[in-house]
């Protein structure tokens, strides 16, 4: 199996188990206040890290390029309450333009 297959199988199994656990474990296991508070911040930090790394990193070095134009346009579109598909489309369009102009 190639690495991508490990990712497909591993992600699918792990994510299903996590969902299933919520439906079967006793409620108090997951409702400790500290666990809940940390859990609430996990998506925020991971999504933040993914935005930053996918925008400004290239493998293990930092890089400022056309992608930054795209993400700034996406932020502006989100600020103006554009729907998600429009945000993604505008970001791609702006980044592609910057790529061809630079």
């Amino acid at each position: 199996m190639t690495a991508t297959w490990y990712v497909v199988v591993g992600t699918s199994v792990l994510c299903f188990l996590i969902k299933y656990v919520g439906h079967v474990v006793p409620a108090h296991w997951l409702s400790r206040p500290r666990v809940q508070r940390i859990n609430a911040y996990v998506p925020v930090v991971l999504l933040g890290a993914l935005v930053a790394v996918q925008t400004a990193a290239s493998k293990t070095h930092l890089a400022v390029d056309h992608r930054l134009v795209g993400i700034l346009v996406a932020a502006a579109a989100l600020k103006l309450r554009a729907p998600f598909p429009v945000v993604v489309f505008l970001a791609a369009l702006a980044s592609a333009l910057a790529y061809h102009l630079s």
């Binding site: 591993g10 994510c15 439906h23 079967v24 911040y41 930053a52 996918q54 592609a96």
Partner: protein
């Protein structure tokens, strides 16, 4: 499910279609990261939790190994366990129906389901199942469309695909930034991940950022 309120249908359908469209961005991102069309479709059919799917292919695109990709996706889906906890008393299902309910336990089905509470327990159940089924259908159809589209266009940068992925993450992050402290946490996470990128093995800077969440959530702030 006799007499599902019209507003429940409307909520479920509009959320399903809007979120489903997002599947096209995932399909394209996954193919751009080096996954085949078939693998991309399997991720949407089997994993079926958007942010984790984007994270798994995003870590691979950033040069991370399979284990890092799976671990990052798993951490990002830990909130689904809490959703299951909230939904399960409303659903009251066992066996294969419980497994299906678990697979469809995502942000959207839980939120639409719980939003029906004022309309009664039947509406909660209907909202959950209709949204779960609707998002599952549209998410998978649009994943395939996005994957096939990306496969036919060659260089992802020339079409802006490499910026579409972080834009998709930003779109998932945005509605969570409700208060000033959460905004600061997100900014700290961005700074941390960028500072860690040149120092840590490729792809691991993202998952290492969980330390920021532990710091942020350790003390009770209320």
């Amino acid at each position: 499910m006799a007499a599902v309120p019209r507003s429940t249908w409307r909520d479920a359908l509009s959320v399903s279609l809007t979120v489903g469209l997002y599947g096209a961005a995932f399909g394209a991102a996954s193919v751009a990261a080096g996954f085949s069309v078939w693998q991309t479709c399997l991720l949407s059919l089997l994993t079926f939790t958007g942010a984790s799917q984007f994270a798994a292919v995003g870590v691979v695109a950033a040069g991370g190994g399979a284990l890092t990709a799976v671990a990052t996706a798993g951490l990002l889906s830990s909130r689904n366990a809490l959703y299951g906890l909230q939904m399960t008393p409303h659903l009251g299902v066992k066996g294969w129906r419980r497994a299906l309910a678990a697979q469809w336990t995502i942000d959207e089905s839980t939120n639409v389901g719980l939003a029906q509470l004022p309309l009664g327990p039947d509406a909660v159940r209907a909202g959950f199942w209709l949204t779960g089924a609707g998002v599952y259908f549209f998410w998978n159809v649009f994943t395939l469309a996005g994957a096939l589209g990306a496969k036919s266009i060659g260089n992802p940068a020339a079409w802006g695909l490499d910026a579409a992925v972080p834009a998709a993450f930003l779109g998932l992050l945005w509605p969570r930034l409700r208060d000033r402290f959460t905004q600061l946490v997100a900014l700290a996470a961005m700074a941390f991940s960028l500072l860690a990128t040149p120092v840590l093995p490729s792809g691991t800077a993202i998952i290492a950022t969980v330390i920021v969440a532990i710091f942020a959530g350790w003390r009770d702030r209320s």
